[in-house]
Amino acid sequence: MSEKTDRRTYLKVVGGTVGGLVVGGAIGYLAKPSEAVEKTITQTQTLTKTVTATAPAVTTTPVQLTGPDHALIMLMGGYRPDMVQANLEEFDKQWNVPSSLKTELQQLSGDLMVAEETKLAAGAPVDICLSYPYSTVTWSKAGWIQTIDDIKATADGIVMYNMGDIKKELFKNMQDAFSVDGKLYGLPYYNSCIGAKLTNEKLWERAGISGQYPKTHQEFYDMLPTLKAKCQAGEYPFLAPYYNEAFGIPWSWLYETMNQGGVGAMFEETPPYGPTFDVGTLAEDVLKNWKDTWDKEYTPHSVLTMKQTDFLGAFSTGKYFIHDNADYYLGYMNNPAKSQMAGDCGLVPVDKQPWGMMDAGIYVLVNRKGRTEKDQHYAEAFMEFLGYKDRKGVYYVPKRWGIEESLQSGYAGVTEDPDVKAAYAKRLRKPEDLVTIGKLLETMNFCSAWKAPWYTKWNTRALTELPLVLTGEKSIKDVITTLRDYAEELVKGA
């Protein structure tokens, strides 16, 4: 081979080839949706269009579902990806989504909120993702997500239910928590009460105080010396919720104060949600009780570095009389595969005051760029499927979470469902705990400042400052003043 090539020709050939590939690829990419639609036409099957919202699907006119123009994309964390994937497949099946455009699950690792925000800020194509009440406010202000308030059943039969009807069923406290400026922004993924008091009934029985539960936070603190006296080596009366999570120590302060003084005991209940806690208020009394609990070692000092998994792992060893956690962890604690105290975990009933506050996850509808009208309808239908009902009028996804993972929903129709109740009953030590769960969800509140876009900043500061009270690096008064001043600064800067 002695064929010679000059550099210009060489570059032309290489450049031409690369350019050709790029142009070809772009044409192929642009052509993909229409090709996909062509393929799906042959797969189209006749389904029925449902127009009623609350009752099982009512057939009116036959509609043809051909699938979206682009595959729907959902972001989720690492919790039960198998079940999430199965739910997506069920949606594709019911909405006749062709296999070439099947709904995609993007499982994110690490800090889910950060990973999601990175994608949303970058404008990545996403249709549905998980949010929380406090992040929903910021995301809506940033224009990343859209309100679902106006969703209505569509003539093309893709969207099944009117949001107005869904709202009639959705618990009022969740509607409030999921709304920004009066507009609803999400449907429930799960609903729970964080700060429920979970007990190790075996230790209570051994101590001869079975059923003698505290009725208020103050009664509980008054009980701690007695519980401490009943502890054996290596045991503690209390695994205090001072763990190192955004929903750990800061939220514990919020709900303990609000449980005793009402929602307005920490922040104003209306905009601009300025701080109401101060030195000399109930918030200070709560911290005094904490300091006493810490100094007298009613709780192990290791809680300050615990993450949620450590916190769960610690209580599941069976060495603690009581701890605060989300009510759905009752299932975890009574599961022999996960807990050393399986079958012994109960709940302190709700009596004179509520315990804890709302901890809910929300499906939100992302403002995906370049979404066609048809894609918008599919995204809305997907949202309703995940957070409400399927095409057959069944709470398909919420019921599954309830049955398999003890996750509560935002609808009485799910919590009262016989299958869900039966699944719960298997994980309870005593039947009355199911009544307690209902009461916890009914009486719980949420922090009004969640609706302020600055809330996460304040929460971060609280996560940093509150442990300093316990370790003695700062006085209670200093910490309260710091957090109050910071909240006022944030309100001014909002």
């Binding site: 000059d6 000092h301 300050l304 900043k457």
Partner: protein, 296 residues
Amino acid sequence: MPLIKKSLSDVQFGLALLLPLILFVIALNIYPLGYSIWMSLTDYDISRGTKNFIGFGNYAHVFSADPYFIRALGVTLRFTAEAVLMNIALGLGMALLLNEVFRGRGLIRMIALLPWSMSTYAVATLFRYLTSPDVGLFSAAAQYLGLAAGPVTFLSAGNAIDWVALAFSWNLAPLGAFFFLANLQVIPEDLYRQAKTDGAGAIRRFWHVTIPYLRYSLLVVLLLVTIFAATETTLILTFTGGGPGVSTQTLSYWVYVQTFTNYAFGYGSALSWILMLIVLFIGIVYFTVLTRRRGG
């Protein structure tokens, strides 16, 4: 006859070949760096919806009004110093051991590399479980040996950062060890024999023969460990989450919190540039000290 005629000059041809790489570097390095400098000069904050140019306002705020900056800087310096010392000690120790001739040396070298092959997340999770009072190995061992009556709390506000430094060094020490080992293997045996003949003991031989040969690998390891330690975030987030209290909140952790928790992209960028300048300064000191000619 050359296969390719020179219708382009050598320089033009070279540039043409480099062009894709240059574009790649601009897209992945230059642009993000420039963008982060620009962000650091703005009040870009998603939660407030602001994105205005404020000059050096963020930098001024760091030094005048951030109540956590000085503390975070102190924690960063302590963590970095501990990490560097532990890495050098562990790495050099491992290298000296692996440089000896013994049966199974290949296997031991492979095992010695294993910690480095673990992800930071895995290392953090491992150490979290090792130090857990309730389900941790260390606590269980202490109770089993009768050293403690109940669960032992290892991570306190006073020493949690030391544990993070230990976890960091355990993970990274094999890297330094193999840098040192490569250097150790090229030291001529004759030098040791001559030193021995001159009456030098083991310590003097190590100091006067081994160490001078390790100078450049020491510089590389020092630089790498300092950069990695000063910017470490994943390990801290996963192992201690910055706690207890603020005891393990380093500057890089604070950058993360400001940027991704508080949505203050502008302020977070300013903090990260300050951190970068600190690391750069330390790097210059290393170079100056370790590349200085003796008697010069």
